[in-house]
């Protein structure tokens, strides 16, 4: 896992072979997880799937570069429902995603209460992923404000889709992050797959780039290709370095693919018309001689087996009991305040 220090290195255009292998490994792991989740849905082992295949080349570098930990010295991460890759790169276990898919009592994110892809990991400052689009952008200024006050290099990272930027909450984040003299260390990320469910970007946006919306607020902005992990890494390095050291906001727009459509509601079938970042990166690695086809196939096979085993375990885990609906309505301890 990269620490704050390693991400502070200025951007590099070429990866080391080591990092390339690590990124590739996590990309495959994520893709195999998503495919397993889709299979579970299709086999009736879950009611709904939504996830991030097509965003691995961005989400994995992001997860690797997060300064992971608990409390103000580390990054706070406000993600959305396509973020499994980021979380796997941070070290989350794929089996937990299967648990949420199958809504078992063992689901560590919600105890079988929430949809797939709605993680919550307080011990790593991963804010609960919620369904209402874009509200994370209204919440993010709060964690960032506490970090600004605390000092250090911890930042707040908030991510959402392109269509969601039409909600007022996106503007709220722009406004609250850029107040003069009270600028916040927020990295605002928009993963632009050019769709909101069925609605194409072109039909709803007057902006050429969403990132341009930051400019009126004096924010640094960039638009990067999120279909390539190396361009993602470079873009993230630059953005994170700025936010960590300047303690000011940065708006990063990232072009990504949506490889299995919006969600299970739209069929969850592979879309050949979209650029597949994994295929593309594998071609690059093979061509560069970093990994052979056989080695890459072995990676995939390993994860496929792992996930297939994991699915078997999860299949036998208990569902939550109906009587538990009354649990956790009110807290009796201030966990976020450090009470144990």
């Amino acid at each position: 896992m990269a620490t704050a220090t390693s991400t502070d290195k200025s951007e590099r255009l070429e990866f080391s072979a080591e990092r390339a292998v690590q990124v590739h490994d996590l990309m495959v792991k994520t893709r195999v997880l998503e495919e397993r989740l889709i299979t579970m849905y299709k086999q009736g082992d879950g009611y709904f799937w939504i996830g991030g295949p097509g965003e691995e080349a961005f989400n994995i570098p992001l997860g690797m570069m997060v300064d992971k930990g608990q409390g103000l010295a580390h990054d706070y991460v406000h993600l959305h429902y396509r973020s499994a890759g980021t979380l796997l790169a941070m070290g989350a276990s794929p089996v937990d995603f299967l648990r949420q898919m199958k809504n078992t009592a063992t689901d560590p994110f919600s105890g079988g209460r929430n949809f797939a892809g709605h993680a919550s990991i307080r011990k790593w400052n991963v804010a609960p992923i919620t369904s209402p689009i874009e509200i994370q952008y209204s919440i993010a200024p709060g964690t960032a404000m506490a970090q600004k006050r605390h000092g250090g290099t911890g930042i707040t990272i908030v991510q959402g889709g392109d269509a969601g930027t039409a909600e007022g909450d996106f503007a709220t984040c722009l406004v609250w992050s850029s107040r003069k003299g009270a600028e916040l260390p927020v990295l605002m990320i928009v993963t632009n797959n050019r769709f909101g469910i069925s609605t194409p970007y072109e039909s709803q946006h007057g902006e050429k780039y969403i990132a341009d919306r930051g400019k009126a607020f004096g924010m640094e902005t960039a638009v990067i290709d999120g279909n390539d992990p190396e361009s993602s890494w470079a873009g993230l390095s630059k953005a994170m370095h700025y936010v960590r050291t300047e303690r000011r906001p940065y708006l990063l727009e990232v072009a990504v693919s949506r490889l299995y459509g919006h969600s299970s509601a739209s069929g969850a079938n592979y879309n050949k018309e979209q650029l597949d970042c994994l295929t593309a990166y594998e071609a690059k690695l093979e061509q560069r001689g970093v990994l052979t086809r056989a080695a890459m196939d072995a990676v995939r096979e390993r994860y496929t087996n792992e996930l297939s085993e994991a699915a078997k375990i999860v299949r036998d885990e208990a569902q939550p009991d109906g009587s538990t609906i009354f649990d956790h309505v009110f807290a009796s301890k201030n966990l976020v305040g450090g009470e144990l």
């Binding site: 009611y47 709904f48 809504n103 078992t104 009592a105 919600s110 105890g111 079988g112 209460r113 929430n114 949809f115 919620t130 369904s131 209402p132 689009i133 874009e134 269509a163 969601g164 039409a166 909600e167 007022g168 909101g196 469910i197 069925s198 609605t199 039909s203 709803q204 509601a265 569902q319 939550p320 009991d321 109906g322 009587s323 538990t324 609906i325 009354f326 309505v329």
Partner: protein
């Protein structure tokens, strides 16, 4: 025989062609999808909005002001809660301006549980909605009412909220409740008006020769007569209540079931007339149970009919918890089930005053 969602779509079509509807809009409402429940496929005036519920309600208000007839959609009522201020404005404009501006707009939103929708696709909205003055509110439980209430909503000069029970979207009409003009053959109807899978860019629906039918706003419907206890419900819990009444009948209890259909204004006369006969009443809905519209109906009942009651009036509603959990056990424990309603019917009917 139309399904409930097809009935909505046909009403929107008739609205466009004969009642002056100018805009049917919301997230994914226009082509290619035509609504996440297919409710706006093939409609001439349907268009996709930005992903912005506040913009949707605001624009509907503006369109209404400009003499248009907008029908807007909030994709799921779970996502309507950032617009309550605007809904209140829509509801208070005619009053605040002392009768200067009326706002003829319809807002459709799918509601309720029953589809394993987890925390954010299971909300009910009737408690919050009935607390907002100035809106008419309807909630069908079958295709014919879905059709007739939507036409009435469109024709109304006021803001009308149309709550569409998600879990009943595919409920079919019965043969004696055909929509005026629709073909009895449901396969044929699907062929005529359902968009094909895949590329739809060249597709056009073939609308049956529909007639208007107005189910009056404010009129309940007794869907099952009975002498022993009155059950008042609407939306998804209405058919559940009917089933529970059938179960009760097997035990010799005859429950009368009233489909309220309109929540604002609501048909108090129908409730009263029934309770005066049965002397026992149960209100059933799936909203969370604190500050629930059924509690208003209970209050009115004890206000006006206290000495006619042979048992305490009952509410069967959703558990007061922060969400409906995804797992089947959680959903079942959170919202009324056939058995819970049956229990309430039994308890009320067998209660000795």
């Amino acid at each position: 025989m139309a399904s409930l969602i097809q009935a909505i779509r046909m009403a929107l079509h008739v609205g466009e062609e004969r009642l002056g509807v100018t805009d049917i809009f919301g997230e994914d409402v226009g082509p290619p999808l035509g609504g996440v429940f297919t409710g706006s496929q093939g409609l001439r005036t349907a268009w996709n909005s930005p992903l912005d519920e506040r913009g949707i309600i605001g624009t509907a208000i503006g369109l209404a002001m400009a003499g248009q007839k907008p029908v807007c959609e909030i994709q799921f009522c779970d996502y309507i809660y950032n617009t309550i201020d605007l809904l209140k404005v829509a509801g208070n404009t005619y009053w605040s301006t002392n009768g200067d501006w009326n706002l003829p707009m319809v807002c459709i939103t799918p509601v309720g549980a029953g589809i394993r929708g987890s925390i954010y696709h299971s909300h009910s909205f009737d408690a919050t909605a009935t607390h907002i003055p100035g809106w008419k509110i309807v909630m069908p439980s079958n295709p014919l009412d879905a059709y007739g209430l939507l036409l009435s909503a469109i024709a109304d000069p006021n803001p009308v909220l149309y709550l569409a029970p998600k879990a009943l979207m595919r409920t079919k009409a019965t043969l004696d409740e055909l929509l005026p003009g629709e073909p009895a053959d449901d396969k044929l109807l699907c062929k005529m008006i359902d968009a094909p899978l895949g590329d739809r860019s060249a597709w056009k629906p073939e609308w049956p020769p529909l007639e208007t039918l107005f189910v009056p706003i404010g009129k309940a419907k007794t869907v099952r007569p009975g002498r022993d206890v009155t059950v008042v419900s609407y939306g998804r819990t209405l058919p559940l209540s009917v089933k529970a009444a059938e179960d009760a009948a097997a035990e010799g209890i005859e429950a009368e079931v009233i489909d309220l259909r309109s929540l604002a204004p609501y048909d108090w006369e129908a409730i009263k007339e029934s309770v005066l006969r049965t002397n026992r009443v149960i209100f059933v809905n799936e909203e969370t149970e604190i500050t629930n519209f059924g509690e208003h109906l209970i209050r009115r009942t004890v206000d006006e009919l206290f000495y006619h009651l042979h048992a305490p009036p009952k509410l069967v509603a959703g558990a007061f918890v922060p969400g409906i959990g995804l797992a089947d056990n959680l959903e079942r424990a959170s919202v009324p089930q056939r058995e819970t309603i049956l229990d309430a019917i039994r308890e009320s009917a067998r209660h000795e005053p």
